[in-house]
Symmetry: C2
């Protein structure tokens, strides 16, 4: 049996829990090799944690699962042609094209989400639209071989959906027990429709400063996916 290659693609400004969550789940898939890579194998700093010993994206020959996490760096990443060329190359042959959080914007900029339903962090879902993607509001959205998770912590739910797909339900349930994944948040404010209006307003206001530049970047990236 050949080894199943699961690739996590890092870039500067990634949010670490976007990939450490699903990595902890998926690195336990039987018969698999988990590769964590960046452009040139550069170390990646992510909100106070620095990841080293990364594979060089350009030297990863292929993968079965490509997973792109999100973060505030998505905007710069989707306009970085050297980075995007590697995402396009590796995603084109992958059996599963996947993301967590705003990682779906990178998949979209790579041209993988045209006409497909996909998830994204709730605050940035509308940025999928210029790419011709269809916004899904579920925590994990599946459209054929494209499986995308919502914001940050949705990566863990995504990880278990993916692990069931790769290794079957019994195996995935055993890993869930091993990781004691029976979440029990002390309060319930994790989606716009659950949050108190004043909390939602506060978070939206904080994000507003980034909205214009991110929208512009998404438009620019969407133009690049059009035939010249």
């Amino acid at each position: 049996m050949s080894t199943l290659k699961i690739l996590f693609v890092l870039y500067p400004g990634v949010t670490h829990l976007d990939f450490t969550g699903p990595h902890q789940v998926l690195s336990r898939a039987p018969g698999s090799e988990t590769i964590v890579a960046s452009l040139g194998g550069q170390d990646i700093e992510a909100e106070g944690l620095t990841f080293t010993n990364l594979a060089d994206l350009s030297k990863v020959d292929r993968c079965d699962v490509i997973c792109i996490p999100g973060g505030f760096g998505t905007t710069a990443a989707m306009l970085d042609e050297a980075f995007m060329a590697q995402v396009r190359r590796l995603g084109a042959d992958a059996k599963y094209v996947t993301s967590v959080c705003t990682g779906s914007l990178i998949l979209a900029a790579a041209g993988f989400l045209k006409g497909k339903r996909a998830a994204c962090h709730w605050a940035w879902r509308s940025l999928l639209e210029p790419f011709g993607a269809i916004v899904g509001e579920e925590r994990v959205v599946r459209d054929g071989n494209t499986i995308t998770g919502g914001g940050v912590t949705a990566g863990i739910d995504f990880g278990f959906v993916m692990l069931e797909e790769l290794a079957g339900r019994d195996y995935a349930e055993a890993v869930q027990l091993g990781l004691e994944y029976a979440p029990d948040p002390p309060f319930h404010s994790g989606r716009p429709e659950l949050a108190r209006p004043e909390i939602l307003a506060q978070v939206k206001a904080r994000m507003a400063s980034a909205t214009d530049s991110r929208s512009e970047a998404a438009l620019e990236a969407s133009r690049r996916t059009e035939p010249a």
Copy 2:
């Protein structure tokens, strides 16, 4: 206002999600500095991810919150006197003494849990007993200034309990919305009492091979906490 120092203590064989989960939450505490440290500042490999740029534990002068994650390396760590000396020194002055998963065994071995209720990964809870700790089966257990989380993913729930403590409920709810923490596992096998009996038996069988050596290590560490 002085900066609130939040310290995560890493060691070889730590489980990365045990600390990346609460780190993603707590590093957003206002007016705080998050320090991630290891003995000698050595890089830490954790199930396929390598963390670098770590602070040297012996050079951290003090902290307000000490958080010890768990992992299969806890057994070796709690018998490593140089490591334990730093945990004892930093924990003794901390305002909050905290852990995730089997990190509570290290707190216990440091002498911080005598007569206290504490959480641990479900499979290793009984190892708290030789230290005179009282096992709590909740996902997050609080006993005075000691706040401990259960296995692996409980670290995120712990993070939000801790963030509410440090920054208030409104702030914690805003971070929960930002991290989209409205978990929705695709199946429900994350605690022994939820798992199907055959899945529980399978996971217990896999852990059995480690049980004897871990129990021995806990006994040895507990003897070291007794006055000579």
